[in-house]
């Protein structure tokens, strides 16, 4: 099984770190992984995206031109990447910030009000984790426990108090997937 994922949004929405967390979790589960960012001026406010591959086989191209899943956090990202999802693939839309629906009917589309949920949890910054929770529920690309194991490593020490918040965000995201 090979997951070829595009994650995209505004700079500052945590798209890059969402990808990195997923790649780290994949690695922990013994998979082959790669994380390829878009880089440059768009990091400072424009649209940022990264390509993550998680696979049981050695990874060829680190680029993702045909995605098994796309996670879009804002409208420009939906406009840009909807067409790149493989037929039968998944498209996760942050419905808090995206006012239009997907146009394709050959893919599975999920609407997640990530920012609203994040605000309910107390900080808009955690919207990326809500989306990640929904993503792993849909694809099983990584286990929630593995992601939390990695989060716990990163936020050990004085930032440890935000670990439960991340766990809650993943759960709330997953709850959006029926």
């Amino acid at each position: 099984m090979t997951h070829q994922i595009i994650m995209a949004g505004f700079g500052g929405q945590g798209v890059m770190s969402m990808g990195k967390i997923l790649a780290e979790a994949g690695l922990k589960e013994g998979k082959n992984v790669s994380w390829l960012p878009s880089y440059g001026p768009e990091m400072r406010g424009g649209t940022a995206n990264c390509s993550v591959i998680i696979s049981d086989e050695p990874i060829g191209a680190p680029t993702v031109t045909e995605a098994t899943t796309a996670i879009v956090m804002n409208r420009p990202s939906l406009d840009k990447f909807e067409k790149d999802v493989l037929p039968g693939g998944h498209l996760l839309i942050n419905s808090s910030l995206i006012d239009r629906k997907a146009t394709r009917d050959d893919i599975n589309v999920y609407y997640i009000p990530a920012n609203e949920i994040a605000d309910e949890l107390g900080t808009g910054k955690i919207a990326n984790m809500v989306m990640l929770g929904a993503f792993i529920k849909v694809t099983n690309a990584a286990k929630e426990d593995t992601i939390m194991e990695y989060i716990a490593e990163v936020f050990s020490g004085k930032n440890a108090d935000i670990i439960p918040l991340n766990k809650e965000a993943l759960k709330r995201g997953a709850d959006c997937i029926k």
């Binding site: 790669s34 960012p37 990874i59 191209a61 680190p62 680029t63």
Partner: protein, 355 residues
Amino acid sequence: MAKELWKGNEAIAEAAIKAGCRFFFGYPITPQNEIPEYMSLRLPQVGGCFLQAESEVAAINMVYGAAGAGARVMTSSSSPGISLKQEGITYIAGAELPCVIVNIVRGGPGLGGIQPAQSDYFQATKGGGHGDYHLVVLAPDSIQEAVNLVQEAFDIADQYRNPVMILGDGMIGQMMEPVEFTEVKRRQLPEKTWATTGLRGRKEHNIINSLFIDPAACEQHNLKIFEKYAQIEKNEIKVEEYNLEGAEIVFAAYGTVARIVKNAIKALEKDGIKAGLIRPITLWPFPKANFLKAAEMPSVKAFLSVEMSMGQMVEDVELSVKGKKPVYFYGRTGGMVPTPKAIVEEAKKILGGAK
């Protein structure tokens, strides 16, 4: 040691430190900034020295001074910055100094762009600056390979007293992949008895120099350097052959493009077309013999060089194949990356349509 997720640029920097590099001189330029940033933090921790120079020109001349003084030293940059370094690089080659130069290539010409490219192939493999000389050019296709090659690069540089270039595209610098810092086998290296350390009791003074005003002496110096290059061509070629048996079409690709080509090869296989790949890992010395051998295989109908350039390595492929089979080119440039799909279509076009 377990595998860890590393960003290419940072992994390259750490690999250099593991190889005993203790001096780094550089100047900021995208997309390689994580290398100097990482070095600025790490080198002081291991008793080394990082210095941000006033320009790429100054940085490469600091490398010249430090290499001449006997240190393991590295610099990194990206295409426009590497152009600026060319003066220093030819002096380093002329003075026979060992060092490692990393080029995380971006689109050109001129200021170009900042996205991945392979359009510095000519510059890297054919000299780059003035005069007759070569760099040893290593082109990794993954972060793991980059880590291994960087470590070996310092040994190659010291063994032959010649600069070695790591040629990676922006993707190699920016992506993250699992890496294991395994112990790379170290070579037996000669003492740097030629280094300008200060006499410290030595009787004869050492001179680091690339000036030979007498033409006969200058020619002799060139001949000596080229004897060394002959040894490098004999000993140091690295190449990956993939899926060549029974291949109708053989791709030539290096770096990350080779991985994209591998995806295309799998897709072609599903359509009943056998395709193979020759991936030069050393771009200089170029694995000519591998290409010639493939050209003599009856199954092979054509070669297709796939590059992120307007066609540079393709010339070396043509020279290697010696007209025995047709050589085609497909490339994207300016920061655009070829897709497996487009490569598949190109291969089918060459072979005369889908089966």
